[in-house]
Amino acid sequence: MSFEPVILFFVLGLLAGVVRSDLKIPGVLYESLSIFLLLAIGLKGGIELASYPLASIAGPALVVVLAAMLIPLAAFAILSRAGRLARPDAASIAAHYGSVSVVTFAVAASFLARQGEAAEGYLVVFLVLLEFPALVLGVVLARRGAGETRWGHLLHEVLAGKSIVLLVGGLLIGWIAGAEGIKPLDRLFLDLFKGVLAFFLLEMGLVVASRFADLRRAGPFLLGFAIAMPVAAGLLGLFTAQLIGLSVGGAALLATLYASASYIAAPAAMRIAIPEANPALSIGAALGITFPFNLLIGIPLYHGLAVRLAGNV
């Protein structure tokens, strides 16, 4: 199994955080790097999207989004019944797991590129579509029966949030301009992508290390959930990929999307929409356990399973 080197930057950040190094990446740089990554991922997807007829993607997209709804629903049932978490906490965590992590997606894409495994370019469209429905569903689950919700506020937070604006914006720019039109920007957005991803992962290592204290509050059930849930969701992703006929690379990417948990859009949206949920639990699980798990073990695992599944057909 070949190793994706950008992950080593994540490990470095993690170690620096654990030994309490004075290494600190300023918040503004975090913001700047995430803006770059979201825009670049959108652009790449848009360029690829230009070579597919849009109508051919609509059907698969619907299947992908509907199947993905099972993830927050199952997560909520497991957390509130078996885990005995309070309704707001279970709903908020379910929303985090139902939504997706853009950086996990980016790492999976570069892992696959390194393996020489091609994937359908329009998966970025699925990335965008999977980002927000789970957040809305999470709020519905939290509010069922009681309490008022500022829906306008929440929908604005989610749909006008920077991840959606930049991903969709990049997608449209890439789609309109096409590969030739984007050429003058290639150096910045395509060539530098991996370097920026490495930088961002270094920062994420530091952030994850700073969340370790939250994990103690999470308890063994949530820790187990944070590993079992992505694997189960990954399997659902592989199954859905077969249903819509994705390539091996596409299946591995879709499994990674299903398995990943959001930590950019979800925490901010849930903090506003479900204030009584404890963010230490959802962020501890999604960022403290699931994100590193997917980076180090999950992505190669989903790819390996996708290869096996394809071999059996």
């Binding site: 600190k24 990446i25 918040g27 975090y30 913001e31 506020h153 920062e203 530091l206 952030v207 700073s210 204290a213 939250d214 930590y263 950019i264 925490p267 901010a268 903090r271 506003i272 204030p275 009584e276 963010p279 230490a280 962020i283």
Partner: protein, 98 residues
């Protein structure tokens, strides 16, 4: 120099937009927001990434408005969110502005 109140709110950065709306609705004529870091009942708020960032909002106003803002925000945000509010006496040069 005229006496006024300086109301300071330190809270989670996620609340910025919501608080800005509340302050305007309550009648504040202006406020200043700065990024902040620190530590307290909600653990280390180190500003490493958006969910761990704090802000400090300062409002200059008369004592009625300062009390009204403090009470309204306390009722709405103190329970679920990380928030501290305090009020200090200050002197201002242009009382008509605040």
């Amino acid at each position: 120099m005229t006496p006024r109140k300086l109301l300071t709110i330190i809270c989670e950065a996620d609340l910025e937009r919501s608080l800005a709306d509340d302050l305007s609705a309550l009648g504040a004529r202006g406020f200043t927001i700065t990024d902040a870091r620190g530590q307290g009942a909600h653990g280390a708020r180190d500003g490493l990434w958006p969910s761990a960032a704090n802000i400090r909002i300062e409002v200059l106003c008369d004592d009625h408005l300062a009390s009204a803002i403090a009470e309204s925000l306390q009722a709405r945000y103190y329970e679920p969110y990380a928030m501290v509010i305090f009020i200090a006496d200050v002197l201002v040069l242009r009382p008509g502005k605040f």
